[in-house]
Assembly symmetry: C2
Homo-oligomer: 225 residues x 2
């Protein structure tokens, strides 16, 4: 089997795809949690997780009787996003609970290690109009943006860093790009740490706190509900 088909096979199954998509929240999940989420028996989850780990998409970490599993890295997340984003038509919500959850996620959520949804897109727009990021045939961090990253978020780039400072990530609810890469990740981490946003429920949804509304307004001139 050629490598292309090999890699694609990893994502070409209902159960494994469900695992990968929740793991896009960037956190580590236990095998049992994932099994319940995907509605399969623990034995099935165990096998499929092993395949994903062996395929290099996931990494695992054993702690006592728990098996924690997370995405292998930003490349893995980017791959999953790329395949998922290719879907020509977005599916409609099936029932009320799902619809509520989707609404919350549409407003604000994490996408691997950065912010997405209306919030993510609004922040991206704000950074572009403020001149911190240039949207000039591909995204790039401006010198002003680099200063902001250091001053406002306290980030300093390590010497041999490979990961791009900013990367565009297509938002599957807004159908517009939001910010990934180092900038997106640092912003998201800072926002969680300083309680600008809080996780709600067990999914990827987050909500903006009143502190967050103020901070985003002051730091970026972004008006978020």
């Amino acid at each position: 089997m050629p490598p292309l088909a090999e890699t694609a096979s990893l994502l070409a199954d209902r159960t494994r795809a469900a695992f990968c998509q929740v793991l896009l929240d960037g956190r580590a999940w236990t095998a049992g949690e994932l099994a319940r989420h995907a509605k399969v028996q623990p034995s099935t989850a165990s096998e499929q997780l092993s395949r994903l780990v062996k395929g290099g998409l996931l990494t695992e970490e054993r702690q006592g009787r728990h098996r924690y599993v997370r995405l292998a890295g930003p490349e893995a997340a980017a791959l999953i996003e790329a395949v998922a984003a290719y879907a020509p038509d977005s599916p409609r919500p099936q029932n009320l609970r799902q619809s509520v959850r989707l609404n919350a996620e549409a407003r604000a959520r994490t996408c691997y290690d950065h912010l997405a949804g209306q919030l993510g897109v609004a922040l991206a727009d704000a950074m572009i109009t403020r001149g911190l990021v240039a949207d000039d045939s591909g995204l790039a961090v401006t010198p002003a943006g680099r200063a902001w990253l250091a001053d406002a978020l306290g980030y300093q780039r390590p010497a041999g860093a490979r990961r791009p400072l900013v990367r565009s990530c297509l938002d599957w609810t807004e159908r517009r790009p939001h910010l990934a890469g180092v900038l997106g990740a640092t912003l998201c981490a800072t926002a969680l740490e300083r309680q600008w946003v809080q996780r709600v429920g067990s999914g990827r949804a987050v909500k903006v706190t009143s502190m967050g509304v103020q901070a985003f307004e002051e730091l970026l001139g972004a008006k978020v509900s």
Copy 2:
């Protein structure tokens, strides 16, 4: 089946993957050519092609008794590249003929609609050192690069153009990025048109002509063998 698994399924088969990978040369192939290439019966090829077309990865065009098929667009090419590039270890050539072909492709080949291989990476490097493209947390065309694109290649951007001017595409032989996007495509088209490179064999391999060596040297200061 969720959209992620749906899309991945399209590439998760030996035959369909083979189709997509040769179609990365950007040309239109007939169903029969693809069947012979993938070593399957015409009937099999016909069915699998229909799946790829229905899935939106390919578009078809009927001409008389021929069915021409090509990649649906740059997004489709980018998706296939992304999945293929994730392969952790590159496979070794199996036999002599394959090895020769791989060597030719490693030197210079097309990758969908732009140039790849050692040639593609060398050109990318040259454009960066000449200041035509900035490699600054993501690639971007500089003002000088924009002028070069107009003067040297005669390209003028249409009003409502959506495709990014330049995009980074990971080279699977060199393991380094080369240039895709409008810039990569225009450069490749010009190179073929002005006979700087010529296609060799029926695959994706190309070879640089003596005219090409001179042109790349003069226009970009790039030394290509």
